[in-house]
Structure formats: structure tokens, C-alpha cells
């Protein structure tokens, strides 16, 4: 029987039994619901809420400049002319109008329910000042329209020394989400690999299996099978997030950028999974009881947690941080940090290439090393086996 068929059989067993568990199914559905739900919440709370402004009396003439100013300041305003000020006040109270604006000799009178939105305050202030300015220009014999055109022609010529990526905010948000997903998936599925190895040792089924197949085939099948299970879940979550984000407009960046970011996340997860799953499998083989898995895998979980915590605390305020950049090309840490950095953007290509080459090289090295540890240790039950013993045996 070919090795390929044996590995396929063992991998298929992992995929079938693990995908069949309620934990996996319900967990996946819940996470999709949370991600899609969050997107909708952000959509409803954050964007798309045009302020409804009621204009009364002379203020009705401000409708056009109000909308124009709002657009330049990045706000959205919907204007309504009202004749009955008393009825309009009631509308402000019940929320169908956000503000009611009337003209006063010194400026504008603004009625709100609780407080004036900061964005709208800026818009209204600008409009009021402009009107006062126009009046003053006219009084002095000038032409307000001409002054307006001149003002509109004034340009700020901004020269950024280190220009921010376009859509920086969204990219940062995606980077953090992608970082969490990759981090949690590596931590979770790494543990599952170690527990799976110990399950076979503890139940002694490994003795039956190893009389038929090679230890490395069993290990390969387990890592690949659990990898498929993990990847399916991660891809589903990222896909659901991308679709929901783009469909609701919460993600305004081009779809190609979103897809590229997620594709990088998947690639780094796959590399990180192989890297860590091999280590977790070897670690699991050293012990014979589920209670001992935690102890033997602690160094590995730390290697995942620490760079992630550093990344997630430094990158939001300082995306170009040199220390994080350095960590992100070190193979053990790259899988958590690189996808975050790539999502945020502005990573020099050379750093990506170096990180990829180093990580792949480490995975290849680990295949041999962990395979040896696993093969030697997995047959031995009882007390915990040291790595040195497992390598030497």
C-alpha cells in the first residue's frame, strides 16, 4: 500500500471525526455569526447615519451651503424645510429630526434633543461664519461670490515624508482581526494536535496502528488532517468576514485589497500551522496522559502568545515599529506577526521574502527533527520522555 494512501486514510479519519464533533460545528457557526453580526453592528452604529437637519425661517436658505460644507468635512447631512417650528421641536424630541436650525441676528439657533453632534457643530459653525463673512464682504463693497471662488481655489500642498497607506484605519482593523484569528487558530489547533497524539498513546491504539503503518505516516496524516479541519474553519470565517464587510460597505477599501490581505493570512496560517503542529505533535508524543499535555506544550504556547501580544499592543500605534518588524521575519514568530503587518500594509517585499524563506526552511528542518522525536517517543508509554532521549533513541 502506498504511503500516500495510508496518509490519506489517517488524515481522512482526523477530518471526519473532528468535523463531526458538535464542538467544531457549533463553534464554527457561532464564530461566523459573531463575525457577520459584528460587521452589521459596526455598519449600523458607525456609518450611513445622515443627520436630519430641519431648517426654519431664513435659515432655509442655508440648505445648499450646509450640504456642501458637510460633504467637504466628511459628514452627511439631509436638510428639511419646516414651517411649523413648534411641530419641528416635537420632531427633535422624538428623534425624527436630529437638529432644528433657525436664523438669529448674531448667528444660528440650534435645537437638539440632548447634545449637538461634534461633526455637525463644526459644519454649522462653518456655515454661520461663512454667512457672517459674506455679509461683511457685501457691507465693505466686495463681491462675496468672487471671494468664495478665490477661497475655493486655495490648495494645501501636503508633502508626506512617510505616507500612510490608503485606508489605514480599515487596514489596521483588518490586521487586528486577522491577527486574532490566526493566533487563536494556531493555539487551538496546536493543542488539538498534541491531544490527538496523546489520545492515541493513552488509549494504546497506537500499538495497533504502528504494527501496520510507519510512525511518520501516522504523524503526517494527523497533522495534515487537523490542518484541513483548521484551515476550513479559518477560511470560512475570513470569507464570511470579507463578504459581510464588503457587502455592508463597512469595508470601503477595494475588494482586491481585502482578498489579498485574507489570502496572506491563510498562507501564513498554513505555514504557521505546519511549523507549530509538528512541534505540538512531537511534544505530545513525549507524554502518555492528557493531564501532562499542558506542561509539555507550554513553551510552544508561549512562543505563539508572546509575539502576538507584542504585535497587537505595538502595531496599532506604531505600524512601522522596527522591533516588531524584526520579530516578524523570525520563523517562529512570523506566522502571528507577518499577516498583521501585511494587513496594515507598507511591509517591504524583502522582509516578506526573507520571512517566507526562513519559515519554509524551518518547517522542512522540523519535519525531520520532530518526525524523529515522535517516532521514538510515541511507542513509549509511562513517564515523560525527555527530548534528548527521544532524539537519541
Amino acid at each position: 500500500m502506498s504511503s500516500r494512501r495510508i496518509i490519506w486514510l489517517t488524515a481522512r479519519r482526523e477530518i471526519r471525526t473532528r468535523m463531526a464533533t458538535p464542538t467544531y460545528r457549533i463553534g464554527t457557526i457561532l464564530m461566523v455569526v459573531v463575525i457577520v453580526g459584528l460587521t452589521f453592528v459596526i455598519d449600523i452604529v458607525g456609518g450611513g447615519s445622515a443627520q436630519r437637519v430641519g431648517l426654519t425661517g431664513e435659515a432655509t436658505a442655508l440648505a445648499e451651503p450646509l450640504r456642501a460644507t458637510a460633504t467637504t468635512l466628511g459628514d452627511e447631512v439631509e436638510t428639511v424645510s419646516v414651517t411649523d417650528a413648534r411641530a419641528a421641536t416635537r420632531q427633535v424630541r422624538d428623534g425624527s429630526l436630529d437638529v432644528l436650525v433657525a436664523s438669529t441676528p448674531g448667528g444660528l439657533r440650534v435645537v437638539v434633543d440632548e447634545r449637538l453632534d461634534d461633526g455637525l457643530r463644526a459644519v454649522l459653525t462653518a456655515v454661520a461664519r461663512e454667512r457672517a463673512l459674506d455679509e461683511q464682504i457685501a457691507t465693505l463693497g466686495g463681491d462675496p461670490a468672487e471671494v468664495g471662488r478665490r477661497l475655493a481655489g486655495v490648495r494645501l500642498d501636503v508633502q508626506a515624508l512617510d505616507p500612510e497607506e490608503p485606508y489605514a484605519g480599515e487596514r489596521l482593523a483588518i490586521g487586528i482581526v486577522v491577527g486574532i484569528l490566526v493566533y487563536v487558530a494556531l493555539l487551538l489547533y496546536g493543542q488539538i494536535v498534541a491531544q490527538g497524539v496523546v489520545e492515541e498513546k493513552a488509549s494504546r491504539v497506537v500499538e495497533l496502528l504502528l504494527s501496520t503503518i510507519h510512525a511518520w505516516q501516522l504523524m503526517a496524516g494527523k497533522v495534515l488532517g487537523i490542518g484541513v479541519v483548521a484551515l476550513a474553519q479559518l477560511a470560512l470565517l475570513l470569507g464570511a468576514g470579507a463578504v459581510a464587510g464588503l457587502a455592508t460597505g463597512v469595508l470601503s477599501l477595494p475588494a482586491s485589497v481585502a482578498i489579498e490581505t485574507f489570502a496572506w493570512a491563510v498562507l501564513w496560517f498554513v505555514l504557521g500551522f505546519f511549523l507549530y503542529a509538528l512541534l505540538f505533535a512531537a511534544a505530545g508524543a513525549l507524554v502518555s496522559r492528557q493531564e501532562d499535555v499542558g506542561g509539555v506544550t507550554t513553551p510552544l504556547t508561549m512562543a505563539i502568545i508572546i509575539p502576538y501580544v507584542i504585535g497587537v499592543s505595538v502595531l496599532p500605534s506604531d505600524p512601522g515599529n522596527g522591533f516588531v518588524a524584526l520579530l516578524s521575519v523570525i520563523p517562529l514568530f512570523a506566522p502571528m506577526l507577518m499577516p498583521m503587518r501585511l494587513a496594515i500594509g507598507g511591509v517591504p517585499a524583502v522582509e516578506v521574502v526573507v520571512a517566507l524563506v526562513l519559515t519554509v526552511a524551518l518547517v522542512l528542518l522540523l519535519v525531520r527533527l520532530t518526525g524523529r522525536i515522535y517516532s521514538n517517543a510515541v511507542r513509549r508509554t509511562g513517564a515523560r520522555i525527555t527530548v534528548r532521549d527521544a532524539l537519541r533513541a
Binding site: I6, T10, R13, S203, E207, L208, L209, L210, S211, I213
Partner: protein, 309 residues
Amino acid sequence: MIRRVVGAGLAFHDLTKRYGDVVALRGMTFTVEPGELFGFVGSNGAGKTTAMRIAMGVLAADAGEVRWRGQPLDLESRRRFGYMPEERGLYPKMAVTDQLVYLAELHGLAANDASRAAAAWLERLGVAERAGDELQKLSLGNQQRVQLAAALVHDPEVLILDEPFSGLDPVAVDVMSEVLRERCERGTPAVFSSHQLDLVERLCDRVGIVRAGEMVAVGSVEELRTGGADRVEVHAPAAPPGWADGLAGVTTLSREDGRSLLELSDGADDQALLAAALATGPVHEFARRRAPLSELFRHVVSGTPEEQP
């Protein structure tokens, strides 16, 4: 007797294994011929499990090897073996059928054949109604039946079963015995270890007795008996204590209620014994007693106690 072809069977040749200072096997050698049911008996720690684990490739021997049809075993040939490890092991959280189908496929069966074989064995072993349940939900006895099904599901050429009867209820013991006999009639050699000596005696074509990592006696139960001394039980109520003491080659093993159990060494004259018994008074019974395997076992195992591992 069938003429044995050299190299046709499963040959354990000069197996040696030590764990640190402890010698588990010292040159263990024996052969199981095709169609032979071989019972492997010996005290705990005598090396039965070690020998079987070496045959299955779970352990490596320090020296010696196990051959099947004249060839040293490798993974390919072991794939056609059926194995029941001493420490039972299957996936606790996997459904019974899935488990058997998986193992059958790993042993080289195509998916269809694997499903068919799994269903057939579960039926045969009386656990068909639990086919869809997780293994851990079955009683220990039923788990044991599934374990046997796992050893048989791929229609193995050779069976190596470590304590297959331990933990089975009498019905399951019967089914298991029947299955073993049936496999042997079809030419499958089977080695199994057991502490249930009456079972071994009833079932096995040949028996091997192991002591301290060595095979100390091999043969059919009959052959083993001829090696041992004859026993005679005499019921002579009037016989005084020590009535048989003067006879050459006769040892009194026990005496109770006028019944004496005597051992006759090779060449001792049983007629002289009978005459001596009659001289004491009436003799109601004078019967040859066949030593049970357990007796032979005790005799062989305690024979020349060497350093126990």
C-alpha cells in the same frame, strides 16, 4: 502427523531482549505451523508479551528475528497479521463501525470490502446493534469483542493475540474459541497467550511454556504429559500411613480419607503398587490420573528457578 515444511510457519528465532539490566527474552525460539493454534503460557513477566510485541514490530529485538514463510517480518507482511495487544486499544470516541472500517482499510482492504467485513464481524461477535455507538459507551466485554473484530476484520494470514480471553464472559469465550478454531482449520496459524490453562488445554494444538524469557517446554498437551511423571490415585481405606513408602520409584503426593495420590517415576512398576495396596485390605479404586496442564505448568515453571527478571 502432518509433515512440517521447514519455514512454512511463523518462526520465532532466538529472540533476545533486555530492558536495562532486566533480561526479558533470552534466546526464545519456537515455530507455529500453518493451521496450528499455539498456546503461550507462562508466569507474569516471563516474556510472552515482549515476544508478541517484537513479532508485531512494536518493539525491536536486541537479537534474533521472527520469520513468516521463511522471510523476516516487515510492515508489509505484518499488515496481513491480526493483532490483539495486551493493553487493549481503540479510539474511545470513534464509532465502532468507523473504527473497524478504518483499521481494515489501513490493512489494505478497499472501502467496500472493509465495510462488509466490519459488519460481518460485528454480527458474528454479537455486537452488531452497537455498530453506530462510540466505543467508550460499550461495556468492557463488548469493547473486548470489538477488539477481537479489529484483529480479524482484514482476514489476516496470521493471528497474534495477547490474552484474548481475559475479560470475556463465558458466551464470548465460546464465540472466541469457535472463531479461533475455525480460522485454524482454514490454515491460519495463531499464537495466543493466556493464564486460563484449562482453556489452553482444551483449545490448543500445541503449547509453549515460557519461564524467564526462555521457552522451557513446547509440544502438544499429550507430549508435555509424557515428559511428566505418571500419577495414580488409590482408594484403599484400610491402608496405614506410609503404606507405599517402600516401593521403588513411588512417591506419595497426598493422602486423605483413605485416598492416596502417588507419583510413579519412569519405569516404576504399577502392578507392584497395586499388589502393595491390596495387601493393606480392600481397594475400591485404582486409577491413573492425567496431570492437568496447570500441574505441568507448575512443575515446569518451578523446575529450575533461575534469577527471575
